[in-house]
């Protein structure tokens, strides 16, 4: 039992934090937010030079580190409110390709992804699925040497900035879900892009007779559900860490505001009702960090129910904390919390959207609660 960071881990965290605070000022972020894709290639390249896209990648692809390093980087990206699609590429798609890719797919994609030269988005969610992973209507029909994909995908994060998509579909020949690597420019694929509430890019996809070679199938036919569960669990851990970083930043700036804003002749931080609210925000963030540690520690646990227990517990707790800290930070900032010209409202929006990504509090409390029925001990 040991929660201390190694020297290398502390160095990684510090250097990412320095890079972000130097290059990703709030003003710069707002400029990026206003750009067409809400994404800066320059920042992406700086992050790539820092080596963060190689985290968790296999050594032969130039990779290093694992879940703890990814957690530390996600905390810093959360703290800096960074918009760039790190999670889609590295955590979701990276783990799918690494765990399920053929030798050729891995050799072709992973080194490029590790250097930051290839962004990959996961096109899975569909209307009517909410947070249930095996609800997929898009289907794949097998031909000789190819598949034909038909269906539609909704709210696909980072699709507009991706160089490659991983599309899930019900595989008619295999009787389960399969995954396919699809070029964004493939014939029959249509993307309707938009921005999310918190400034990321996303879009809806329709697939009309999109033809992909058999070699573009990722993993065994019909077995994608467990692969998706594993990848999403890694994403949950990453989201928890990002929320923790954002909450810590929010709490620091709220404390600062309470100490400077004066009303009734004194700093408003002298009022006990605000002190106790702030103490509760701190308490929630501290506990959320503990749960984020648990999520990272367990996100690749081979025992499926143990992993479900830990990840759902973590996402539920972090979601509750993110909601409380976000809402109260806005409240304690008063009118300033409503202004789009200050960071607080942007943190609040990000924290709120993290909650809606891959399962909200109710969904994960429910998932955890369902495990209790079978597991009385």
């Amino acid at each position: 039992m040991d929660f201390e960071l190694t020297e290398d881990q502390a160095m990684l965290r510090d250097s990412v934090r320095r890079l972000i605070s130097r290059e990703y000022t709030f003003a710069r972020r707002q400029a990026i937010l206003g750009s067409p894709h809400g994404f800066s290639a320059e920042i992406w390249n700086l992050l790539a030079q820092q080596g963060i896209f190689a985290l968790g990648m296999p050594e032969d692809a130039g990779g290093y580190g694992g879940a703890t390093e990814i957690m530390l980087v996600m905390e810093e990206l959360g703290r800096g409110l960074v918009l760039e699609p790190f999670m889609s590429t590295l955590v979701l798609s990276g783990s799918l390709i690494r765990d399920h890719g053929t030798v050729a797919q891995r050799a072709q994609l992973l080194p490029k992804m590790a250097r930051g030269n290839c962004r990959v988005a996961l096109a899975h969610h569909e209307a009517g699925a909410r947070y249930v992973l095996d609800h997929v209507g898009t289907h794949a029909t097998r031909g000789k040497g190819f598949y034909v994909l038909n269906g539609s995908k909704a709210v696909i994060l980072d699709a507009p900035v991706a160089d490659l998509l991983i599309v899930s579909a019900r595989d008619e020949s295999a009787g389960g879900l399969s995954l396919f690597l699809v070029e964004p420019g493939a014939e029959g694929l249509k993307l309707s892009p938009y921005r999310t509430q918190d400034g990321r890019s996303a879009g809806d996809l329709t697939l009309e007779n999109v033809k992909v070679p058999t070699a573009a199938r990722l993993g065994s036919p019909g077995f994608a559900l467990s692969a998706l569960e594993q990848a999403v669990d890694c994403a949950l851990a990453a989201l928890c860490a990002e929320a923790v970083g954002a909450m810590e930043a929010v709490n620091e700036s709220t404390v600062q505001y309470l100490n400077t804003r004066r009303q009734f002749g004194q700093p408003i931080g002298r009022f006990q009702v605000l002190q106790h609210r702030m103490a509760d925000m701190f308490l929630m963030a501290t506990q959320a960090k503990s749960m984020s540690y648990l999520a990272s520690g367990r996100c690749r646990n081979p025992d499926r129910s143990e992993r479900r227990r830990a990840l759902s517990a973590a996402k539920a707790y972090v979601g509750k904390a993110a909601r409380f800290v976000g809402q109260q930070a806005v409240q304690l900032h008063g009118g300033m919390g409503m202004s789009a010209e200050l960071p607080i409202s942007h943190y609040f929006k990000r924290l709120t959207m993290i909650n809606a990504t891959f399962g909200d509090v109710d969904h994960h409390v429910g998932a955890y609660s369902d495990l209790l029925r079978t597991n009385v001990s």
């Binding site: 040991d2 002298r270 501290t286 009385v376």
Partner: protein, 398 residues
């Protein structure tokens, strides 16, 4: 970063489990697990068994006769004891006054008191709160006046826990009424058999006798029973409060309660179906378990920081607040789980040998009493509101 216990920590856990299996009398654990009333002799008999093994003061260093365990080992010991249903360690001596005597006591005080705390010969209690000094402890008015080599103590203490079992009491008294509040206080060790000490039990919400008022009427206390310097008592008191947070989160006990609660919910029927099938109840249970997980990992982070000799600071302030709240939540869910059976008030059910009737299980009559009793956890050792003041001022700098 590693969430798992090391091989040597797991070996230590197994050693504690072996000891408990062999040495914890079944009659005693049955009382604890059955939520029966524990007598002075119950608590002391367990203390003596631990003393034989050299484990009666888990937090003490070797030089004073403790086992010299690391923070992690102490945590494992506490957890296993709670899970096995061992009676609680009598904390006022071992965990509260002893660290003060070790740090600030004279050699004579150390040599006289520490071995007697270790063996259980002396039962200690606390004289801090007064009718007008609760959260604002420094406003205490119990007076100690110097007369040659004695102090004469006059005044009143209250919310004194198990003083009716105690041989000695450690007291905060005012020795300089002219000085600023916190600067005129001294820390005295007082023999409970001294003439002029009177106890009045305060019956509590659950009908039990747990706390007392204590009246001091011209009680003579030798100057040699003062800890450290005169008028420096506040410093020692704060040091004591710092030590009180060890095991304050009560993880082991909460885990035990939660596991019982789950078994109960699987067994107990609601309209003929297991309560566990009731989504609303089960979700509450899930949330309580998730809260406990978060607290347990926070405890681990504090232990890890202590092992690495890093000040845990911020994280440790969370433990009292959340630990107290979780105990309350679990006791409330236990009471809720038994539905109508929460109603009967049967004091004799707290004694062994009582036979349950009317479809109730043996320990059910204790659930509501326990719920009422545990409301104390957010009030004592610095109320949760005082804890939030501390976080706001000391950690957040508001």
């Amino acid at each position: 970063m590693n969430l798992e216990f090391s091989a040597s920590e797991r070996r230590f856990r197994a050693e504690v489990q072996d000891f408990l299996r062999e040495s914890l009398p079944a009659s005693l654990s049955a009382k604890v697990l059955g939520l029966k009333r524990l007598t002075r002799e119950d608590l002391l008999s367990w203390h003596r068994i631990l003393y034989e093994k050299g484990w009666s003061a888990p937090s003490w260093p070797r030089e004073f006769g403790g086992p010299g365990w690391s923070a992690v080992e102490q945590h494992i010991f506490d957890e296993e004891c709670a899970l096995a249903g061992a009676p609680p360690i009598i904390s006022f001596g071992v965990r509260m006054v002893a660290p003060v005597i070790m740090q600030f006591g004279s050699r004579e005080q150390q040599e006289f008191f520490l071995p007697r705390i270790l063996s259980g010969e002396h039962w200690w209690c606390q004289g801090y709160s007064e009718p007008n000094a609760g959260s604002d402890l420094a406003s205490l008015t119990t007076r100690a006046e110097r007369r040659g080599d004695h102090y004469i103590v006059n005044g009143q203490k209250t919310w004194n826990t198990l003083g009716h079992f105690a041989d000695w009491i450690f007291c905060l008294v005012r020795t300089d009424p002219e000085a600023r509040q916190q600067e005129g206080i001294s820390f005295l060790l007082i023999d409970m058999r001294s003439p002029g000490i009177k106890l009045r039990p305060i019956p509590l919400i659950d009908g039990e006798h747990e706390v007392n008022e204590i009246f001091f009427d011209h009680v003579e206390v030798p100057v040699g029973n003062r800890i450290g310097e005169e008028n420096k008592g506040w410093t020692y008191a704060k040091y004591l409060l710092g030590h009180e947070r060890v095991n304050i989160a009560q993880i082991g006990q909460a885990k035990r309660e939660l596991s019982r609660l789950k078994q109960l919910a699987a067994r107990e029927l609601s309209g003929g179906r297991p309560l566990m099938e009731d989504t609303r109840f089960r979700d509450r249970l899930a949330e309580a378990e998730i809260d406990l997980m978060a607290l347990e990992i926070t405890v681990m982070r504090v232990l890890s920081a202590e092992s690495a000799r890093r000040d845990p600071g911020a994280e440790s302030s969370v433990l009292k607040i959340r630990g107290a709240e979780i105990q309350q939540t679990l006791s409330e869910l236990m009471m809720q789980a038994i539905g109508h059976y929460a109603l009967p008030w049967i004091p004799e059910a707290l004694e062994p040998g009582w036979q349950a009737h009317g479809g109730a299980e043996q320990d059910w009559p204790a659930f509501s009493a326990r719920y009422f009793n545990l409301r104390k956890t957010t009030i004592f050792s610095g109320s949760n509101e005082i804890q939030r003041n501390i976080i706001a001022r000391r950690i957040l700098g508001l």
